[in-house]
Symmetry: C2
Subunit: 286 residues, 2 copies
């Protein structure tokens, strides 16, 4: 390892300072973290001022975080870490041959107390300025047998056209643009929603400062969050992205995967919606 000109024993000394009672997985993680952080410092000949600027930024993230905002998470998101951890999780599940639909990050706007609605209902309770209505529907099925799963839960949430989720926006009625649906006798779910629109992640804190310094925009491509669950099956958390979105190739948190891109198509003869989206979900046994 020591191809640099600094003390060749320093990093090993720090790693080997861990005592015998260190839990093995924690030891592995800390050893890897210490090695990488030290290599980063040496390779870049990090100065005291640069290191201190980093410390200040991380402290600022903690100070800004509370019950409704996790700025430390957002800092990780803008350097791609949450999406990478999601990809690792997905890849390992895929190798175990049990993750049928690509996963995506949960994000900070999920609500555990979202109510059920009936199939065919609209989640657009507060009208959204400039919003395009879409009819979204699909079938939940067993990944292997393709048999429909009757009574499976499909939970969805999306931001409004102003870029805000209902809990961020006093103008939206509670639970606007979110709902849970139960699949019918053929495994189908359906509801009306908005064609999603892009929005910026909060950029008034350290994550925004990093984006600015990296000369990057804060926008996320338009997406709908989905969690599908069925007893005896592995729950699935994902996001689907509109193929026509201008930020599809430069998501500020790098969550887009090809298999999650969908097409909204014109819908004829429905006074409630001019667009339609078909999206099937395949779940794997637990």
């Amino acid at each position: 390892m020591a191809t640099h000109r600094f003390d060749p024993n320093f990093t090993n000394n720090v790693i080997n300072a861990m005592g015998p009672k260190t839990e093995p997985r924690f030891r592995k993680l800390m050893a890897g973290l210490i090695q990488h952080v030290h290599d980063f410092a040496r390779e870049n000949e990090l100065t005291v001022d640069e290191w201190m600027a980093g410390v200040k930024l991380l402290n600022w993230a903690g100070q800004m975080s509370d019950n409704v905002r996790n700025e430390g998470q957002l800092v990780c998101d803008v350097i791609g870490l949450e999406s990478l951890v999601d990809e690792i999780t997905f890849k390992l599940a895929e190798e175990a041959a049990d993750a049928p639909t690509a996963t995506a990050i949960l994000g900070p706007f999920f609500r555990a107390d979202t109510p059920f609605r009936n199939n065919g209902d609209s989640i657009v309770v507060t009208s959204a300025k400039g919003g395009e209505m879409a009819f979204m529907h699909g079938q939940v099925m067993d990944f292997v047998t393709k048999k429909p799963l009757v009574g499976a839960t499909v939970e969805v949430w999306q931001a409004s056209t102003n870029g805000l989720y209902e809990q961020q926006d006093p103008e939206q009625i509670e639970f606007n643009l979110r709902g849970k649906f139960r699949t019918d006798e053929e495994g189908h779910y359906s509801f009306y929603c908005l064609r999603p629109t892009p929005y910026p992640v909060p950029y008034d804190g350290p994550a925004g400062k990093l984006l600015q310094l990296m000369d990057r925009h804060p926008f996320r491509p338009a997406h709908i969050h989905i969690i599908a669950t069925y007893e005896g099956y592995r729950p699935l958390t994902t996001q689907i992205f509109d193929r026509k979105d201008p930020y599809l190739t430069n998501d500020s948190v790098f969550a887009v995967k090809d298999s999650l891109i969908v097409d909204f198509v014109p819908r004829q003869g429905d006074p409630q919606a001019g667009l339609e989206l078909t999206y099937d979900v395949r779940l794997a046994r637990a």
Copy 2:
């Protein structure tokens, strides 16, 4: 780089998302940081729960930090980062042939408003339980010519035997165990102090939690902080360590360098002190 089985383009995509207006040094640092953080996640197949535990710990560090405590700094210290950055700084200065005495970290207990005392005075204003008195003295000189520097400033500070610096301890008189001295006509400084004693870094926060999980103790070996300055010369920040200290080889913040280890020797015929320490300081022209 891509010897792993995850998306080989993911990390480059994140790095290349930086726009053309990114400041070049910042781009280099962020590219290195993103590469190392991603490599760390892939090599260890980091799970969502493990990543979230890290986010929580960093947010906690920020929430605990204020004007008198920098927990983000302390978290870096216990994984050796501040000492490594100091070593890098020292090495670069040494290569430029202008850093005569090894440096060490400043630490969080420096005070900018420390008063001058007279040579031969004692910095032990509040008596310290179980403390051993020492007479510390030496010469400040030009690194190259060895000529004494007359009127140079030597500033020192140390913790008391209870492990606390005066600003942490309501029982100590203000500026106890700290002082500034001006070298005399022969470049000499001198004062009475305590033989330093080991003390733990604060361990009621995330840094302490990390130490506990790594099965490590929080103790720093006994040391005295020194800053020496002289007009037209580069200021020197260092710490000196007592060779007899039991924590010399396992400092919780890894600040010990061989060249900073000193010997307290018996002192005869001085009713004020049973120990003596000679420590010369060599300064380099700016």
